[in-house]
């Protein structure tokens, strides 16, 4: 099954509540997928965030890997040491670096801590995901205290690859991009081989990662997210309801058969997505929201 939730805020006054609204929505979807859960939150303060980039890191041995990591990185880079900071959250940590030092820091990170994995990179995005129920994942990372402009959550019932932290959703394959998926792709192996030949790197055997990488690769070749999603309707074979996030946008697309459920709600304050209506019932003003089921093979997208 899998459960998806998403919340795109139009009303800035709701931003401090994004994490708490989104984690409550995700917990409601727990029985759609008990294996693992994850959440992507886009936070940021508008204009000035573009000077810094956040890397969400993950480690299976955070006590060892994250201790002294900031100091070790600062010792390796030449400049701007004072602009590098690390915030540890359980198995994850957010490393903030100047935007023009991302490549340098990633090279240093790989050398210093080869086992640390980068979950996301971007001006706004942070991704937290682990094996376990949504409640425990949300609590571990204190998601309910996070503020932001939009976010996506997923609770997984694994079908196409192992139940691991890296197999959990959301998948991020490009700066400030992420994707979650309910369904299963049947041509992911052939598409992965094709993308690898084009220089795309994969972390897992997961089908959803292929969809995420496909979209990133299409956009790198010049497509807009909307165009990438449209071409995905032709190139991705299988069942899917996708919810995608970008730095300032939020999109939804379902395959032409549209077996995988999706409900959307829109008010003046937000656009919300749920695998089921249950996920939306606690949102403010839901009683007067416009509620609909997204059409099959139709791309929906909102931007700030």
């Amino acid at each position: 099954m899998c459960g998806i939730v998403g919340l795109f805020l139009k009303d800035q006054s709701l931003q401090p509540q994004l994490g708490s609204l989104l984690s409550d929505m995700l917990v409601t979807m727990s029985d759609r997928g008990p294996d693992s859960a994850g959440i992507a939150i886009y936070s940021g303060d508008g204009e000035f965030r573009s000077s810094a980039t956040k890397l969400t890191l993950q480690s299976n041995a955070p006590d060892k890997d994250f201790v002294d990591l900031a100091a070790d990185i600062k010792a390796e880079v030449e400049t701007n040491q004072s602009k590098i900071s690390l915030t540890i959250k359980d198995t994850h940590a957010v490393l903030t670096v100047p935007a023009d030092m991302v490549d340098e820091v990633r090279t240093v990170l790989t050398k210093l801590r080869p086992n640390v994995r980068v979950m996301s990179v971007g001006e706004a995005i942070e991704i937290y995901k682990e094996v376990g129920l949504p409640r425990s994942v949300a609590d571990r990372f204190a998601v309910s205290q996070m503020s932001g402009t939009h976010g996506i959550g997923h609770t997984r019932m694994a079908t196409e690859s192992a139940v691991t932290t890296m197999g959990a959703h959301p998948f991020s394959t490009g700066a400030d991009q992420c994707l979650v998926h309910n369904g299963s792709l049947s041509n992911h192996n052939s598409l992965r081989r094709k993308l690898i030949r084009n220089g795309v790197h994969f972390e897992t055997d997961n089908d959803t990662e292929v969809a995420a990488a496909y979209l990133t690769h299409s956009m790198q070749k010049g497509a807009s997210l909307g165009e990438a999603l449209e071409s995905g309707l032709d190139d991705l074979d299988g069942f899917y309801t996708f919810v995608v996030g970008t730095r300032d946008g939020f999109g939804v697309v379902r395959d032409p058969i549209a077996c995988k459920p999706a409900v959307m709600a829109e008010t003046d304050q937000y656009v919300a997505f749920g695998s089921e209506y249950r996920a939306l019932v606690n949102l403010p003003g839901i009683d007067v929201a416009h509620i609909w089921e997204p059409e099959p093979a139709t791309v929906y997208f909102w931007t700030h």
Partner: protein, 227 residues
């Protein structure tokens, strides 16, 4: 009237309470509050009672209904009135996928739109949708009537058996073996009756009837090349 707070008392208690109503119960009118999108509300009823649900529901609302008259003052998730036997289920809002699937009798009325696979494999149920229906509706529908006041999506009536389909608006495409058929006097009478029962203000003459061309019923040696 009996009021049942679903949030307070839970789903099992609700359905057990409704199941406990016998044919001669005095408690014939029920109101369920706080449905909040819950699944399997008022499933498996078998008594001539009225059940009003004050809000939207999740999966399988009113499934397997016998005798009861169920009204949802909201929208419903997938599989509403699945395998209904008799009685009525009326939805004031929209219905998600496979509304009335495999239904064997009774009347399902959807005042808003129904999404994909409405009436899939229906076996005698009557379904009246005031709005539109999605793709693959009435797939392998065997008997009963599907009435749509709005438009139908792709592949209407694919692999249809003997169900009759009446659509007032446009049909995006017909499925395999589903064809347009003439509206004879008996169809006008049948449709008028269904529209009256469903409280739909429309003239039967505005509708087009679709049914099975009956070419897929049996194995045809000329089709072997297609397999």
């Amino acid at each position: 009237m009996q009021i049942f707070d679903l949030e307070d008392r839970g789903l099992r208690a609700l359905n057990q309470t409704l199941h406990d109503q016998a044919n001669d119960t005095n408690q014939t009118s029920w109101e369920i509050i706080n449905p909040r999108g819950s699944h399997a509300i008022a499933v498996g009823l078998d008594a001539p009672i009225e059940v009003k649900i004050k809000g939207s529901t999740g999966y399988y609302c009113g499934g397997m209904n016998k005798q009861a008259d169920i009204l949802v003052e909201g929208s419903v998730g997938p599989g509403v009135a699945e395998n209904m036997m008799s009685g009525t289920v009326v939805i004031e809002g929209d219905a998600s996928q496979y509304a009335g699937a495999t239904g064997r009798g009774g009347l399902l009325v959807i005042k808003g739109n129904a999404s994909s696979r409405c009436g899939i494999s229906m076996k005698g149920i009557n379904i009246v949708v005031h709005g539109n229906i999605g793709h693959m509706s009435a797939f392998m529908a065997q008997s009963g009537n599907l009435v749509v006041l709005g438009d139908a999506g792709d592949a209407l009536g694919d692999s249809l058996y003997e169900a009759q389909l009446f659509v007032r608006g446009t049909v995006k495409s017909l499925g395999a073996d589903c064809v347009k058929k003439e509206m004879r006097a008996e169809h006008i009478a049948l449709l008028q009756n269904l529209l009256d029962m469903a409280g739909a203000d429309a003239s039967p003459k505005e509708f087009t009837r679709y049914g099975s061309a009956r070419q897929l019923y049996h194995f045809d040696i000329d089709n072997t090349g297609a397999y």
